[in-house]
Structures are given as structure tokens and as C-alpha cells.
Homo-oligomer: 299 residues x 2
DNA sequence: AGATGTGATAGTCACTGTCTATCGAGACAG
DNA sequence: CTGTCTCGATAGACAGTGACTATCACATCT
């Protein structure tokens, strides 16, 4: 059975006239005669009683026509919904973001994203890198904002902007009187985030391996880390976008001698069909953050 | 778009695997690949993200699949309902019956009809001949039980049984002492039904034209006519099936010299597709009334 | 009786859905 | 890291079928 035939049937039922129904369907009258007869044979039921005067539905047809209308309506709905989904820059877009980035980046990019991609319904999902990659591979995310590159050929990524690190110091810290701080100076009493945060590894890499870390004091989140620094527990590196929050917490920030930093990237599955949406989101973020690294350098 | 393709799509969505989905659909794997790709093109939406590991639905597919399931379910319902309607001896059967026949015939045939045609849901409709023919032609009835033949090539009919007339007399009427009554004797003070009843015309034909009729006393129904005869207003002819009712009313019945009577027929539209149902109903009635005319002759 | 209008039928053609055979990309084991 | 296996995509051939035009059969109306 065929959807086209169902439409033919509805047309004949509505017009009560093969010729006019055929015209309405844009086909010839014999086509309708043949197809409807064929349909009657497959269903095993006579659908119309034909006279030269009129074509009248049988009671069997009356019983069926509700389901026929419903079937045609549903397929119309399929096409209509698909038309609405056709735009890759529309619909739900699940975007993972690492915790050391989300609270500082999102306030900056929400407005431009809404302006430039009004039909894209972005659902942020905050989690650590490995969890994001897992969800990305499991199709639970459409893309993710990371500060590391991705592994494996099934994922692709693209750099969006460079985010310099800054030395974060308690106001009374000796280094606070320096204009520029070196990572080696910072390493002495550095604090880091808990396991799993990529910022932790990046901080350790920048400041050299340090078995001397205060093991008990690993902050679970960046705000906590900032509070610990402000309270004089030690120093740390913070990503540039967190500068405002750090200063609000009463922390002194200094540029690093080596201009260390991290690159924020957007990552997605290589086979993800809505790559246009990924690129568009990436474009908006990259544009918004253009020149950010240089601006941080002038702190 | 095609219903077959929708089923293919559901199969792939369910199995997450083109090969197994193809097997489930009874087609080859390339068929599914081609058809689903074609569908994606017509809908303008990518439905599946293919990996060598798995085939995962896109969010667009998730949005569509409800409608797709509904469309397929509705077409399945069409086939299922049609299967139930396929039997011409099942379903609603609207049967018109003339008023001078209905109350006396129906009690006789209801039980055998229900026994022999249990799936046929007979809806009786009582009205005069012309109204029945009108409704029959308007497809408001499937068949009609009449005491006249039908006119026009669009209707067919078949005789079911002969129904002799009987002379109906008040007990004190002079003719009541006769064993057999002639129509001419009866004509003197004959009463007839109101206009529109075929029995009226048949009575008048049998007893000859009579301008001498008591014009004011035209009974609207056969029970009324019987009451009038019983009350001594005059005589009449009654159809044989009404004999029991007439005797209950206290009327004397006598056979007619000429064995006049009428033939009860079943009529239907020539193009009516469920002729088998008409014939079956006719068979049951004819069988039930077999030998009835002879039995009436022995009153 | 001829004209008109209706659905049914016949014959032809092009499209398309399906098949088999094969390719190319990944995944996995030795 | 290379051979092997699995999976989906592709190519080419073929059959089925839906659509067309032309025509018929039948009924109605003038």
C-alpha cells in the first residue's frame, strides 16, 4: 500500500468524482481508477460504489477513512516537522563546557549567541574533560568546549581563542610587589584544583613538577581555589577569563614571564551531521573573544 | 515519500544496524542504505549518524520518529480494519421494511437471521415503499423488503415469498358465515389504509375501483385498520402474515376465492458491492417463509 | 437518436526500488 | 603494524509499476 494511493482515496472520497479528484491530485483520471481499484483489491474491500451519476463511499470506506486521514496527516506532520528541523542552525544544541571555563565564558557569549543564532537552542552541560568526551562519544552532547586537544579520529576540534594564565597572589604575598611573576617563583607555594580538572595538570606543567604541594588543600572548584588564595593559603595560576572573579575575591593578579596559557577549543564528533552549527557556535565565541589574550597581557 | 521507507527507517532506528534492519525488513542491506539516504535527502534532514560501530539517531530523527511511528501504526490500522470489513456477511446492514410487513415478519426472521448471519448487524428501518426506494437510492439503506417490484435499472430485486391476502370481517358480518369470500362481495363496505401504503393500492386493485369508499375512514396503520374492522366499520383485505394479529383483535378471517396476494421481495442497488449479504438475508427469509402461502390457504 | 459526461480498459513508457557484486573505512587480533 | 573482519556506501542491471494517451462502455439529457 502506498501513501500516494491513500491521498487518491481521500480525494475521491471528498470529491465524489474521479475526474475532479484526479485534477486535484494532479494526475489523470485513469490513474485514479486503476490505483483505487488496486487498493480495493489489496484491502479486500470495495471502497466506492460507482455510478455514472456519483461515486459514493461504502460503509467499509466510512469505517476506514478516519484511519486514512490520520495516516496522511501524520506523514504530512513528518514533512512539516522535518522542514522545521532542516536548518542545522536551529534546534537543540547540547554544548559541554569544562568547569573552569563555564562560569566565566558563558556570561560573555550568551548574548552574542542568542543574537547571531536565534534559532539555536543551546543547552550547556558543565563537566570535566573526560566526562565531556565520554558524553560526546555517546551522542549525549553535540559539541564541547575544552582546554585540551582531543584524541582519536572519531573526534575533531578547532581552536577558538587563546586564554593566558595569570599568577594569582594573596595581596600580602611578597610576589605581589613584582610587576611580572615567573612560574618558578610561583611554584613554591602553589595550590591546584582537585583531580580531573585539566587546569590542574596545566598548572602543574607550567610550574614544574612539585611533590611539595599541600596535598590536603586541593580545591574542588575554581571559586574555592580563589577563596583559598585570597585567604593566604598559597598562590596559583588562573585562566584569564577568571580575572574578574579573582579580583572580586581580593586577589592580586600578575602576568607571567612566559605568557603561559591554554587554548580553548570546540570539539565534536567527526560524523556529527550538524557541523554547520558547531562552526557557527565556534565563530561566535571566537569573534567575541578576539583580542582577549592581548587584553589580558595588559593587566 | 513512501510508507515502505518509513518502515525501513523505523527498523534502522530500532536495530541501530543496517544489516539486521534489512534482514528484519526482508530486503538487502544496500536497499536500506539507498532508501534511507534518499529519504534524508527528501526530508532535508540527516536521520542517522553512521559509524562502523553503531548507527545512532540524530536529534532530528528523535523529533520525527513519533510521527513516523504514528503514520505506520495508522496504516497498519487501515489494513487491520479492512480485514475485519472484508467479510460481506459482516458489519452493519441497513434493511428497509414496509409498515404492513415489518411488525409481522420481523418476529419470525430475527432469530434465524441472528443464527445464520451472526456477524451481520441488521438495522431495520420501517417506512413506506416510496420512502424506502428513495433512501435506497440515496445509499441510506443497503436493501429493502417491499411488496412491489422496483422500477429503473439502478435497482434490482428478488422475490422471497408469496403472501396471500385474507378477507377480514367483523364477527357479526354476514360474510362471516361464508367459507370463502369473493373480492366483489368484500368490495361493498371495504376499508383501506391511508395513501402511500402499497397495501392500499393492492386492496383496491383486488376488489375493483370503488368511489364508494368511506373517505374519512382511512386508517394510518394496519393495527388501526384491524381495530376498525373489529369494531364493525367495514371489511378489508389483510396480508397473510397479519393473520395472527387480526384474530387477536377479534376479526374473522376467510380465504379469498381468487387466492389474491402479494409477493414480498428484497430490493437493492444494482451497484451495491455487498450483494452476498443481500442474497444471504434473502435466503434466510425465504427459507423461513417456505410453505407459508400454502399454510395460509388452510385457514 | 445524438451529444455529453462518467468511470473502466488497453497499451506504452519511464521511473525507481531491488538485487548482486564490490568498494572503502574502521576495529581488532596476532 | 599488517592481515582480517565487519559495516555501510556505491555501481550497474533488471523487473515491477505507476503514469500517460487513446479508447470503450454505459448512462443521462436534450
Amino acid at each position: 500500500m502506498n501513501l500516494r494511493d491513500l491521498r487518491y482515496l481521500l480525494a475521491v472520497a471528498e470529491h465524489g468524482h474521479f475526474g475532479r479528484a484526479a485534477e486535484a491530485c494532479g494526475v489523470s483520471q485513469p490513474t485514479l481508477s486503476v490505483q483505487i481499484r488496486k487498493m480495493e483489491e489489496t484491502l479486500g474491500v470495495v471502497l466506492f460504489e460507482r455510478t455514472s451519476k456519483a461515486v459514493v463511499r461504502t460503509t467499509a470506506c466510512e469505517h476506514l477513512i478516519g484511519h486514512i486521514r490520520a495516516a496522511v496527516a501524520e506523514t504530512d506532520a513528518i514533512v512539516a516537522v522535518a522542514r522545521g528541523l532542516r536548518d542545522p542552525l536551529a534546534g537543540r544544541f547540547r554544548l559541554g563546557i569544562i568547569p573552569t571555563l563555564a562560569p566565566y565564558l558563558l556570561p560573555l557569549v550568551f548574548a552574542p549567541l542568542r543574537e547571531r543564532l536565534p534559532a539555536l537552542d543551546i543547552e550547556p552541560w558543565e563537566d570535566q574533560t573526560v566526562a565531556l568526551l565520554e558524553r560526546l562519544r555517546a551522542h549525549d552532547l553535540d559539541a564541547a568546549l575544552l582546554a585540551t586537544d582531543v584524541d582519536g579520529p572519531d573526534l575533531l576540534s578547532r581552536p577558538l581563542f587563546a586564554e593566558p594564565f595569570l599568577a594569582a597572589l594573596p595581596p600580602e604575598h611578597p610576589l605581589a610587589r613584582h610587576v611580572v611573576v615567573t612560574e618558578a617563583e610561583l611554584a613554591r607555594d602553589i595550590l591546584v584544583l582537585a583531580d580531573g580538572h585539566c587546569l590542574r595538570d596545566q598548572t602543574l606543567t607550567a610550574c614544574g613538577q612539585s611533590g611539595a604541594l599541600g596535598g590536603a588543600l586541593r580545591a574542588a572548584s575554581l571559586p574555592t581555589l580563589l577563596n583559598m588564595v585570597a585567604a593566604g593559603y598559597g598562590t596559583t595560576l588562573i585562566p584569564g577569563l577568571a580575572a574578574g572573579a579573582a579580583e572580586d575575591a581580593g586577589i592580586v593578579l600578575r602576568p607571567l614571564a612566559t605568557a603561559a596559557g591554554r587554548t580553548v577549543r570546540i570539539a565534536w564528533r567527526a560524523r556529527f551531521p550538524r557541523r554547520a552549527a558547531v562552526e557557527a557556535v565556534g565563530d561566535v565565541i571566537a569573534t567575541r573573544l578576539r583580542g582577549f589574550a592581548e587584553a589580558v597581557g595588559t593587566i
